[in-house]
Amino acid sequence: MKIAVQTEPFDLAAEVAALYRANPKVGAVASFLGITRDENDGHAIQGMHLEHYPGMTERALKRIAEEAMTRWPLIDLTVIHRVGALKPTDPIVLVAVAAAHRGDAFAACQFIMDYLKTQAPFWKKEATAEGDRWVDARASDDAAAARWNVK
């Protein structure tokens, strides 16, 4: 299990390969890449700054990942979240989950993203032509997390 919070880019191919190359029991890797868009709610986005709560972020991600390992028969997983300055088309987050079968890998990958979106202390501030603005939380993210019925 790898959890990382970093300013540097990550290497998708290397991270996914690390989940299955050494373990021939892995039959499925589901992965999610979140990417900086150039627009949000109708505003053109020039760039973004991702603030976080050092210490709590790693702790929250680890907790979410361990909960996923408990709920599904997973073999391994990786969560990497970037912080700091990002521009459109820059990857923000990678969640990759390895399991014997695809249903478990898909479910756990979605679960981790839904919980990360509502429980991990990251905040996006977008740079637009009209100035910087903090991104508002989405009700749809709360709804997505609620369907997993944690706690």
């Binding site: 979140g34 991702l50 603030e51 976080h52 709560y53 210490g55 709590m56 702790r59 929250a60 979240h81 923000i92 987050v93 993203m113 990360l116 979106k117 509502t118 429980q119 991990a120 202390p121 990251f122 905040w123 996006k124 501030k125 903090w134 991104v135 508002d136 939380a137």
Partner: protein
């Protein structure tokens, strides 16, 4: 009781403080009571921590609710709903 209190993102900017060390009067022993006490500072505090404002609390780096107890030396954080991913 002594606490370290951290503020993040929009809340940090609006309150103009990232971190403070507090010495709380007796009786302020839950996360909810702490927020009430901070709100009583008035001005931006009353405004930012008002009932219509969405904010979250964490105690010792775990998400907390109004009933979460506080203990001497705890690290408490106040921040807006998270928007990572």
């Amino acid at each position: 009781m002594k606490l370290r209190v951290l503020y993040f993102a929009r809340l940090r900017e609006a309150l103009g403080v990232a971190e403070e060390n507090l010495e709380l009067p007796a009786g302020i022993d839950t996360a909810g009571a702490l927020v009430d006490w901070l709100r009583a500072r008035g001005g931006v505090w009353a405004e930012q921590l008002g009932p219509e404002k969405a904010y979250r609390t964490a105690v010792n780096q775990d998400l907390a609710g109004p009933q979460t107890p506080l203990n001497d030396g705890d690290e408490v954080a106040l921040f807006p709903p998270v928007t990572g991913g």
